[in-house]
Amino acid sequence: MTNGPTRRELYERARRRRSNVIATVSTIVVVGALIVLVPMTPGWDRVRQAFFDGDVFVESFPRLLRAFWLDVQILLWSTPLIMIASLLLALVRNTRSPALFPLRALAIIYIDVLRGIPVILLVFLIGFGVPALGLSRGWANPLIWGTVTLVLSYSAYTAEIIRSGIDSVHESQRAAARSLGMTSRQTMSTVILPQAFRRIGPPLMNTFVSLQKDVALVSLIGPVEILRQAGIDKAKYANFTPYVAASIIFLAITIPCTRLADYAMARQRRRTGATTIS
């Protein structure tokens, strides 16, 4: 062995340099084209005034941020509820016990129906329908029913994700656990579910990001959260910039979330796995 770089290292270094050059050049070309071409479109000036007005942005941003706090609260409420509900649904759906057949049938119907209705329709149906039942004042709160709607809809989706995770754990794991004398419940909680949740990390994260955005749909039944506040500001300034500002606020939450999930998953793989194929 010589002390200098090996043949392979030299090759990989050259390759890396080449990919870097290609990536840089193509990025410059694409971004440059956008910067040059978009302003050349006939309506650009009007669009810039309507969507990218600096003064409107600065004025409405703090208000939007305050309104966004409500979205965050709804999110923090509904996420654990969705996890609990969907885990129960998935477990009930997977049960083989004949005594639980009615529950299993209900779970299947629940999942089919609630996954089949667009969230926005569900928000209307429940948001306007349930308060009309004439419940006492405290219950006529659009916040509560908005959260309930999200939990209903998302628990149906998430239950199916969890179920696919449970199914993906090989039967031999169950055999190993049962041969030690574990009950089926112990097997589920200590062997199957921990592995299932590791596998469904990415789709769960996807659903979570989706939920973060769909929280805004609750605005349709009344609460002044970020989307509604943006609508109010849009009307006030006769300008669409508040929508752009609201989008940026959403991105500030969703992008770090996804990155964090990717990082956690990669770390998990490094810790328990041997090697990964590049």
């Binding site: 055999a175 041969s179 030690l180 004398g181 574990m182 921990p194 592995q195 328990t272 796995g273």
Partner: protein
């Protein structure tokens, strides 16, 4: 008992030791395929019985049935004289007394080696975590795996994984061990380290039912060898008898194939 310990393997009277496991007319089918077709087998305390036969002869199914992982369709399974094939019987208290080691290890990939070994006693016997882990570490040390205690299964070699699987099973202090082709998934050079563990277990007096393709090892370690063919025990006897002067033509045929393949 009159015989010396060395002679015990060849001509011990099974009746002098209590019977651990008795199979009587055990029948099992998957759909229309009959897998076990009337199995009779006695396993006495301390017996090492190997099951040989080609793939699909029913060796694995026999072991899985003995551990109630598969319910049998007909027949009787006596464990310490109690019929454990009784439909509706809670299998968990029985399984914890019977250890099983699988061909594909089946370690829990999300737990460290120590946790794999400690999880059974912790969950099933209610042993406190610290004690279960300490006992597990002791067991791992005995099997030469102390330095891998904090590793995850995927970071181990096949032979190490299988030794961990044996440790996981031993941690429950089983009365009988069922070994299901435990070296079949291993590279040839790793088979030895796993078989050494089985030798140690025999020395400690463990009762074992061992399905295997390692004929030389079966010859060495068995008190009795059973040749299975199409779900039946066609021939049963001491290793000398089965490997030396088998009377069944099908046994002779099978052994000839094994010899031709250079495995005996």
């Amino acid at each position: 008992m009159s015989e010396s310990t060395d002679a015990e393997s060849s001509d011990a009277e099974p009746s002098t030791r209590p019977l651990k496991l008795q199979l009587r007319g055990v029948y099992k089918s998957f759909g229309t395929t009959t897998v076990l077709d009337g199995i009779d087998l006695d396993v006495a305390q301390g017996d090492v019985i190997t099951l040989i036969g080609s793939s699909g002869s029913g060796k694995s199914t026999l072991l899985r049935c003995a551990n109630l992982l598969e319910p049998i369709d007909d027949g009787v399974l006596l464990f310490d004289g109690v019929d454990i094939a009784e439909p509706g019987l809670d299998p968990d208290p029985i399984r914890r007394r019977i250890g099983m080691v699988f061909q594909s290890f089946n370690l829990f990939p999300h737990m460290t080696v120590t946790d794999n070994v400690a999880i059974g006693p912790r969950k099933v016997l209610g042993v406190p975590k610290a004690i279960a882990r300490a006992n597990g570490l002791e067991l791992l040390t005995r099997l030469g795996l102390a330095d891998r205690a904090d590793a995850y299964p995927d970071q181990l070699s096949g032979g190490q994984q299988q030794r961990v699987a044996i440790a996981r099973s031993l941690a429950m202090n089983p009365e009988v061990m069922l070994l299901d082709e435990i070296t079949s998934a291993l590279d040839p050079e790793l088979v030895g380290e796993v078989l050494d563990v089985v030798r140690d277990l025999k020395r400690d007096g463990m009762t074992m039912l061992f399905a295997t393709h390692e004929m030389a090892f079966a010859k060495e370690i068995s008190d009795r060898v059973c040749f299975l063919h199409q779900g039946r025990i066609l021939e049963e006897g001491t290793p000398d008898l089965i490997f030396g002067t088998p009377s069944e033509p099908r046994t002779q045929e099978f052994l000839q194939r094994v010899i031709d393949a250079g495995r005996l």
